[in-house]
Assembly symmetry: C2
């Protein structure tokens, strides 16, 4: 399609045309090989104009109020003069139905704002595939002039790690909860967070929110900082009343200052790791695509599960066939 | 060599001959292709007699007293009637010098005990390679009748995750420390732990050890348990006086009871994941082994680092060459 001609699309994206950005991302998300080639060509053209945004991951259990937070936070950041893109990583997203995340109906006021761009999670059969599409969509948004990108994740499988690997800073939303109440947070997520926000700190829950924040603050002090000079902050907020939202944005600024030149190093490291991840994923996909290999892999898996074959030996058998044949 | 004939070696390992176990592990650690084939044959014979041990990971920063703990804990477990193997994952281990971990001179009394078997970390150019060798050594130890296997790690790179992926339970040793003192623990490790032991809880440091334990106990309550019904325990101990060592072993028993049938499921999951990890690692190794591909990979890496190439597109180029050529 002419409208998918990479140079024209790139020019339109640079010009800030929203429809062009949406088409670019649709192209990026497509699995068709011809679309894949065009998307690669497009991204090559967009690349020099990427990187100029603040990349934030936003996670939290269902019910914590992520959409309300993103709407409130997004509008505050727009009022501060920025243009905000909202993306999502949700491997459970179905092609036809779209995802709950990035659902515009849950962020109506933000969706209507010309300075915001909201996109549901791409569909994909693997987390790696979804994450790759979201990362490339992020690059497209940056090229279109969005200088704050939020990537939302709901905590299915290993989505948080995938999102943490593509952003500068990871925000975790929590509910005000009594000491013994589980937050339903997956193990390992708390330690990923650079900023913890106890949401719904309003009305009857305000005191409890502060107690929860104090508990997590004590806990975060025990964890080694991922950035020298930055201990993960814990704050309260109410996406409903707007309380604490400005402070959350200030914390983002403080983190970036603490990170300093480390930001570029982090992004370079992430980009390199992404490349090798894609190579490994691509190799595995090639194994799964080949009928004979897929059959052998299934058989070996069953033998490994039954304790009849040592995992590394099974892997070597499959690899030998893979490297010899394809 | 005749002594490396798989069936004879397997028989000797089953008979509990220590030298045979050591030779078996040396064979497993070898990178020579002919040794590799024998090792695979050996492991296939040993496999039916593996799995009958309690697999524990032990981690903590340098200086926390891991060797003293392992010695004290190991001797207690032996007194309780078990046979203990101590292995290690240390990717910085050099082939000639051996590793600091699993250094018998640091666990002399244990090393002298006939019911114990201590082996330094294998050398290896990648963490994956070291971890694979250690996992296979663990299987050999189990076949030889060792029913408690400790896998030590010192926290270089991602060793902890690799060890957590091969054991049933992960023990983290800490120092008694003031609230603001960093433990030097890598981010993400605390949430891996099923049991946290604040060591050196003796003499002047005893009160501080209890305070540290209380701090971490509060923190662990905020983290989602990886096993239903089990919140990571935090206890103090003194490997020097022996205080708390019996309690640590009791905690291991309590964890296994909480895990119940989940243990088999966990191990099956680990074995399957290990197989796919090895396949991915093997594919990457094949890329790096090929001169032309290695050169292209280096060039693409540099372009990705410089922001001149999109990571996924770079990966696709390399993959296309890899899948076409080899």
């Amino acid at each position: 399609m002419e409208e998918n001609d990479p140079s024209r699309l790139a020019a339109a994206v640079f010009a800030g045309e929203r429809r062009a950005l949406a088409r670019a991302i649709t192209l990026i998300e497509s699995s068709r090989p011809d679309h894949r080639d065009r998307a690669d060509a497009l991204l090559e053209m967009l690349l020099p104009e990427t990187g100029r945004s603040i990349r934030l991951g936003v996670s939290g259990s269902p019910g914590v109020g992520k959409s309300t937070f993103i709407e409130s936070f997004g509008r505050h950041v727009i009022e501060a003069g920025h243009r905000v893109a909202v993306l999502a990583v949700d491997p459970s997203s179905k092609r036809s139905g779209g995802s709950i995340l990035g659902d515009k109906t849950r962020m109506e006021a933000l969706a209507r704002d010309g300075a915001a761009f909201i996109r549901p999670s791409p569909a994909g059969s693997t987390l790696g595939g979804v994450a790759r599409r979201t990362r490339e969509a992020m690059l497209a948004c940056e090229a279109a002039g969005f200088d704050v990108v939020l990537v939302e994740t709901v905590g299915v499988g290993q989505s948080e790690t995938a999102v943490a690997d593509m952003v500068d800073m990871f925000l975790l939303l929590l509910l005000p909860a009594g000491g013994d109440e589980l937050q339903g947070i997956k193990r390992g997520i708390v330690e990923l967070a650079d900023l913890v926000l106890v949401n719904k700190a309003d009305g009857e829950l305000e005191a409890q929110a502060r107690r929860t924040a104090a508990d997590y603050e004590a806990a975060m002090h025990l964890l080694r900082p991922s950035v020298p000079g930055w201990t993960a902050r814990v704050q309260t907020c109410s996406a409903l009343t707007g309380e604490g939202i400005a402070e959350a944005w200030k914390a983002v600024g403080a983190f970036r200052r603490a990170l300093g030149g480390g930001l570029e190093k982090r992004r370079t490291r992430q980009a390199k790791a992404w490349m090798w991840n894609e190579i490994a994923e691509g190799a595995l996909a090639a194994v799964r695509r080949d009928d004979a290999l897929r059959e052998l892999a299934g058989k070996l898996e069953r033998e490994v599960e039954a304790g009849r074959a040592a995992p590394a030996a099974a892997a070597r058998r499959l690899l030998a066939r893979f490297l010899a044949g394809s």
